[in-house]
């Protein structure tokens, strides 16, 4: 908390600095602070977010390419290349919710000096929606039928159906504006072959690509045509990729070779020891990434053959709400958070933990472990250990469950903790961990994907893409269940189905206005959590580190971490 207040103060100082320093132009020159060195232990593969949805690629590209609006560290929209955020009130969104009108800031130029026009916005839409291009951000453009450009600064996005929350495309680092002139020959099937363009896009951001080495390093130089003549403070950026999170943390916190290290997923005590050297500081930001446990509502018994894990065969134990609730009550989420994540995690009882207006207050108290209560609940529901083997049963069904997750030290620790707690309430758990590229790979031919879910319980992390949780909440819709018919694709591996939930989702998709939408979203969150479809465990923050001599950093989990690199500067001393 202390650091964030400090960061806020620094940010405020930076904001007023140009005003104070107008008398000494030497201080406010572009490139006055030399080089800043950034280390991403996952190296960027290309700098076109439309061809690679990877976070490392999106964030590296964010130095060059910019969207119409960015998200602040609090998850609020900030006009970036646009003059303001279109709303119903300022008539930027039409009353029938069928179109949204973005107005570009006047006088914007690309780094090659040519003017940015609404035609570039229109082209970017065409680029991502052209068939055969394999655009990674296609989902953000879904339902968008055309972009009209009545004049150079106005882009009108038209939807095929009313869109109460029309801020998908061109908001956030995944969907920046591309230069039409540069990418004109890269539409559709030609997109992957445009290596030169994908490695060095022309943008409007504070930096330009000087040298791109795929999966290794990028050299950026400042964009002399940047719209603020006093920024950026750093003339060049060395963006190095590779090694691992441990080495990355070391280079900033222990050896001081780098100024910024990204995404330090390390054990809390390791990070603390590194920070104790006093060369740099660890910064954390939260958005909606929640580590959660999901129960299987369908029977994964191999004896069922092709009907395995399908809705025709409900799970013999887990469809009983008492079992799910007891399993959830037996977990001590505070201990899990502390062991696994330390200060970079927060115990949560919601699958939508942020922004504040969307976070439900109805589930507080879930974090307290209650083994006694869990036992009583199982007793009452008729799950009793009649044969004295330590495992409860009802009829012929024993509470022997398989718990799977991806191979990962923290997750495996969590599995061990849960196994022990569940043993104490009379549930026997068998643990499995699966290589992440298989578990998350979605290959319908593999029996080990999280979608197929040939187990009783599984654990993974998920997040909302942007502050509005509609798309995220719709992952629990009935129709999103992975089934043999859907090629085992779908975002609802629990295969939970509640018509009331789907009906409320439908209402959300037709409701405009922030507070109305937030109220429905909280209700949907409560339905998922209070039915114990999903047990939220930890709200995971983004952890990075920067050198003490680097000023202006405002870590952001909603947008690119490097979203305000134009405001970074070198502290004296």
């Amino acid at each position: 908390m202390k650091t964030s207040v400090f960061a806020g103060l620094v940010a405020a100082l930076v904001a007023i600095a140009p005003v104070c320093l107008t008398g000494s132009p030497a201080q406010a020159q572009q490139g006055r602070d030399g080089e800043v060195r950034i280390l991403y232990w996952q190296a960027p593969s290309l700098l076109n977010p439309y061809l690679s949805g990877g976070i490392k690629d999106v964030e590296a590209a964010s130095l060059v390419l910019e969207p119409l609006a960015r998200l602040s560290p609090e998850g609020q929209m900030l006009p970036w290349l646009a003059q303001d955020i279109p709303t119903l009130d300022n008539h930027g969104i039409s009353a029938d919710l069928m179109q949204i009108t973005w107005r570009l800031k006047p006088g914007l130029t690309w780094s090659d000096g040519s003017a940015v026009t609404a035609r570039d916005v229109q082209f970017t839409f065409q680029y991502c929606t052209a068939p055969g291009g394999g655009c990674a951000q296609m989902d953000k453009f879904r339902g968008l039928i055309a972009v009209d450009t009545p004049d150079d600064l106005t882009a009108i996005l038209r939807f095929e159906a009313p869109r109460p929350y029309p801020y998908g495309a061109f908001v956030g680092p995944q969907t920046p504006i591309l230069q039409a002139a540069q990418f004109a020959d890269c539409l559709g099937p030609n997109a992957p072959g445009c290596t030169a363009q994908n490695f060095a896009p022309i943008g409007t951001g504070p930096y330009m690509v000087a040298d791109f080495r795929p999966n290794d390093a990028v050299e950026f130089v400042l964009n002399p045509a940047y719209r603020d003549a006093t920024k950026p403070a750093f003339a060049t950026v060395l963006f190095k990729g590779g090694t691992d999170a441990n080495a990355a943390g070391r280079t900033v916190l222990e050896t001081g070779e780098f100024d910024y290290a990204w995404n330090l997923q390390l054990a809390p005590e390791v990070l603390q020891a590194m920070a104790a050297r006093g060369k740099g500081q660890v910064v954390t930001a939260f958005s909606t990434l929640v580590e959660r446990i999901t129960f299987n509502f369908t029977d994964p018994d191999p004896a069922l053959g092709d009907a395995r894990a399908t809705r025709g065969h409900p799970h013999p134990a887990l469809v009983d709400p008492a079992v799910r609730r007891a399993l959830a009550m037996a977990l001590d989420r505070a201990v899990m958070t502390q062991i696994g994540y330390g200060p970079s995690g927060r115990t949560t009882c919601n699958i939508v933990p942020a922004p504040p207006i969307y976070a439900s207050q109805a589930n507080a108290g879930c974090a307290t472990q209650d083994l006694e209560g869990a036992r009583a609940l199982l007793d009452k529901a008729g799950w009793i250990d009649t044969d004295g083997d330590g495992v409860r049963q009802r009829g012929t069904v024993h509470l022997r469950l398989t718990f799977q997750t991806s191979t990962n030290a923290v997750r495996q620790n969590f599995q061990l903790l849960a196994k022990d707690w569940w043993r104490q309430i009379g549930v026997d758990t068998q643990l499995r961990h699966i290589n992440a590229s298989v578990f998350f790979g979605g290959d319908p031919g593999s029996a080990d994907t999280m979608q197929k879910f040939y187990a009783d319980i599984e654990m993974y992390a998920g997040a909302s893409d942007g502050p509005d949780p509609e798309a995220y909440l719709s992952t629990w819709a009935c129709g999103r269940a992975p089934t043999p018919e859907s090629g085992w694709q779908g975002s609802n591996p629990a295969r939970w189905c509640d018509p009331a939930y789907d009906a409320l989702l439908e209402t959300l998709s037709q409701t405009a206005g922030l507070s109305e939408r937030a109220a429905i979203a909280r209700q949907l969150n409560d339905m998922v959590v209070q039915n114990d479809v999903v047990v939220p465990l930890v709200d995971r923050g983004r952890v990075s580190a920067h050198a003490n001599s680097l000023g202006g950093v405002q870590i952001n989990a909603w947008d690119s971490e490097l979203w305000n690199i134009a405001d970074w500067y070198r502290l004296p001393g």
Binding site: S52, G54, C135, T251, T255, F440, D443, A461, D465, Y472
Partner: protein
């Protein structure tokens, strides 16, 4: 000898074809998905379209055939045209799934740092190992021999991920003398940057050459011990040749024969880079490209690098065989 070399090369072709098919089949059958690294917020339909844009949905034999055609026809043509400065062909080159860039372009970009770091370490390792092995054998059971043996054992026993970490802890964290991360963008233009380059190469080269030294010293020492016990060495001494002439002219020359084949067979590994050491120090050469491509299920890159390696190993085998003829007059190739 020329005919022998040509015949060996001709035999190599079917071998390479079988290797390529085996590697392709293994990679295609292995679990894993190039889209697995994308955030979960990207839905399955979009992933499916991305896969089909990369040609992943085509059947196995079509993908293999296309890759083979690209490797033996398109890529050599592109290389030839680049050499002669001709207009480029439009035929699709082998593209990496991860970066959408031609795989050969990636390899070309990675080779310099791999050759400088791994290659230098290899040469340095050999340069230290040969005299160390010769002298250890000559002074068998002396303090020098024991010390040399201890170093060799240490080098074989200590894996690079440990020696690398120790060196980083001592020289980068405690003493703060040397960088722990290799900057591939550094270009040597003056004395200052040359000094920087030397500084950043020191740790990875030390880790790698320790290993090479350890292996080759042991071979050299064993072969030398063998040779020193032979009658012809005694005969040379009896003739009154100087110790130096006996050691270098007689014993060392013979004992180099097995060592040369070890060195030649190890040479292709220089091109493959050093996966672990490159990863630790962020050298990002061919080894790092290979391992990161395997992790990302980037089949074209893995496949192409593996094939190049297979070709180099076959070539190195041939060169080792030919080198025997030069070192040992008894060997003939008719």
């Amino acid at each position: 000898m020329l005919f022998y070399a040509l015949r060996r090369l001709a035999f190599a072709l079917p071998t390479l074809l079988v290797i390529s098919l085996a590697v392709f089949a293994l990679m295609a059958l292995a679990p894993g998905d190039p889209m697995a690294q994308l955030p979960l917020t990207i839905p399955a339909e979009v992933r499916a379209e991305m896969r089909s844009a990369l040609g992943l949905d085509a059947p196995f034999h079509v993908r293999y055939g296309l890759w083979l055609w690209q490797l033996v026809v398109v890529e050599p043509r592109v290389a030839l045209e680049a050499l002669l400065g001709l207009e480029g062909t439009d035929a699709p080159r082998i593209l990496s799934w991860q970066t959408r860039a031609p795989v050969f372009q990636l390899i070309a970009q990675r080779l310099p740092q791999t050759l400088t770091v791994v290659g230098l370490a290899y040469l340095l390792g050999i340069a230290v190992a040969l005299p160390l092995g010769i002298w250890s054998a000559y002074r068998q059971n002396s303090t020098f021999d024991r010390a040399g043996n201890a170093i060799a054992l240490l080098g074989v026993a200590v894996p690079p991920f440990f020696s690398g970490a120790v060196l980083i802890y001592v020289f980068s964290i405690r003493l703060e003398w040397l960088p722990s991360i290799y900057d591939t963008t550094l270009s040597v233009t003056d004395w200052n940057s040359l000094w920087e380059q030397a500084r950043q190469m020191l740790l990875p080269v030390a880790v790698l050459s320790l290993q090479t030294t350890a292996q080759i010293t042991r071979y050299m020492r064993a072969a030398m011990l063998d040779a020193l016990g032979q009658d012809y060495v005694r005969a040379a001494r009896a003739k009154g040749l100087s110790e130096r002439a006996v050691l270098m002219g007689q014993a060392a020359r013979t004992s180099l024969i097995p060592v040369v084949s070890v060195i030649a067979l190890g040479a292709p590994q220089v091109f493959a880079g050093a996966i672990i050491t490159e990863q630790i120090f962020g050298v990002n050469g061919v080894g790092q490209l290979l391992i990161s491509s395997i992790r990302a299920s980037d089949l074209p890159t893995v496949q192409t690098i593996t094939m190049l390696l297979a070709a180099l190993i076959i070539l190195a085998n041939l060169l080792a065989d030919l080198a025997y003829g030069l070192l040992d007059p008894r060997v003939r190739y008719d």
